[in-house]
């Protein structure tokens, strides 16, 4: 059987998602521009906003996650990714240290909801539809919830940084960014 197998490497299966992020990292992924064509020679997308597939296949090779964890649904999605992806990458400032959403962490969640949902003359009406995921009392970076294998900082990381990172990884090297590509902002 081996002798008849074509010498084509199977494509790596990649899943992506945005938790408590702004989709900026996904936009930056699209910023690798025409290199996307090279990328899709090497990878196939599984669960991702790009494909609109709703759940991870059981044997994804790489999971790329943008955004930290701010609500109960984020926790479930993160666990689904960890369960189904061999390698998990935290991409962007929010995934790595909570980022902008985590700046609410010094405030009480009850006070925040009361301030945000105070309607003039009608008191406080916090939406409580069961469809709406419950907020956590604080926003957490991904590695505080599951094991993360690689981190790609930036807000967002540039298309060039993403390209360098992914091509290093696909070539079996430890990703290294170097001056100009490593950024926290």
């Amino acid at each position: 059987m081996n002798a008849a197998a074509p010498a084509v490497k199977p494509k790596l299966l990649v899943a992506t998602t945005s938790l408590a992020g702004c989709f900026g990292c996904h936009m930056s992924l699209l910023d690798i521009d025409e290199r996307l064509l090279d990328l899709i020679d090497l990878v196939a997308f599984d669960r991702s906003p790009i494909t609109d597939i709703k759940h991870c296949s059981p044997h994804c090779d790489v999971g790329i996650i943008e955004g930290g964890v701010c609500n109960a649904e984020n926790v479930h999605v993160l666990h689904e990714f960890r369960k189904n992806c061999k390698i998990l990458i935290a991409i962007g400032a929010c995934a790595i240290n909570g980022g902008l959403p985590a700046q609410r962490n010094s405030l009480d969640i009850g006070d925040i909801l009361a301030a945000v949902y105070a309607l003039p003359g009608r008191g406080v009406q916090v939406p409580n539809d069961p469809e709406i995921p419950l907020l956590l009392n604080a926003v957490h970076p991904l590695h505080e919830v599951v094991k993360i294998d690689y981190f790609l900082p930036g807000c967002p990381p540039s298309g060039d940084a993403i390209w360098k990172f992914l091509t290093d990884l696909l070539a079996g090297r430890t990703p290294s960014l170097g001056h100009g590509l490593i950024h926290y902002d």
Binding site: N97, S106, A138, P141, C155, L177, Y184
Partner: protein, 259 residues
Amino acid sequence: MSDTQETNCFFLDDEAIPFTPGQTIIQAALTAGKYIPHLCYHPEFKPHGSCKLCTVRIDSRTIATEDGQTIKIPGRAAASCTTPAQAGQHVESNIPELLDLRRTLIQMLLVEGNHFCPSCEKSGSCLLQGLAYALGVMNPHFPQYFSKREVDASHPDILLDLNRCILCELCIRASAEVDKKHVFSLSGRGHSKHLICNAESGKLGDTNFSATDKAANVCPVGVILHKRHGFETPYGQRRFDQNPINAHAEQYAPVKEQV
């Protein structure tokens, strides 16, 4: 010993570095254009020796064992900003063990404060961030403290964002030694240690602090910020966008002899 002609040289990662007696290892190295990471060292102030980023190993030895192996006995670890250079000394700085330890120190600083670089006015010219870039720090590793720290906007020209204070005491030293005002001090111990202002209200606006004070212009991170000047330099043109922190080490060298 036999190398009397090398009296005023030591070796940094095997390179001969000249020094004048009384200079510290970091002063001589930076003068010779060799960068040693540092945060609390500043060319114009007496060394403080608190951040430990500048730690080097001095006089490691390699010995041969009976079965023909060689073993490295690490030399003593010392802060190069407080340790005087000595002739013939062998100093190691750029070695994997120390680079790892420095990364860990940076990670601990990053989680101890609230460092959200994308919204920080100092981003791009911050020494903590620049050092993290140069060392390739890709993540904070430790859980975030999310400590509750104050922002003091009481002064007309200066904003004090204590979320980012690394307790390097440069502002304290500058205010005491140069400005002769003693505006800042540290209070508390351990994780509750924090910067305080010398006013009954505790507010910077109630001190005699001025934006032209030396202390207003030494903070290596984004704590002491000049109002109405945030984000003036565009992304891509900021200090460490242009050159990494370890380029042109002479920029951190002492200007004249330290007293």
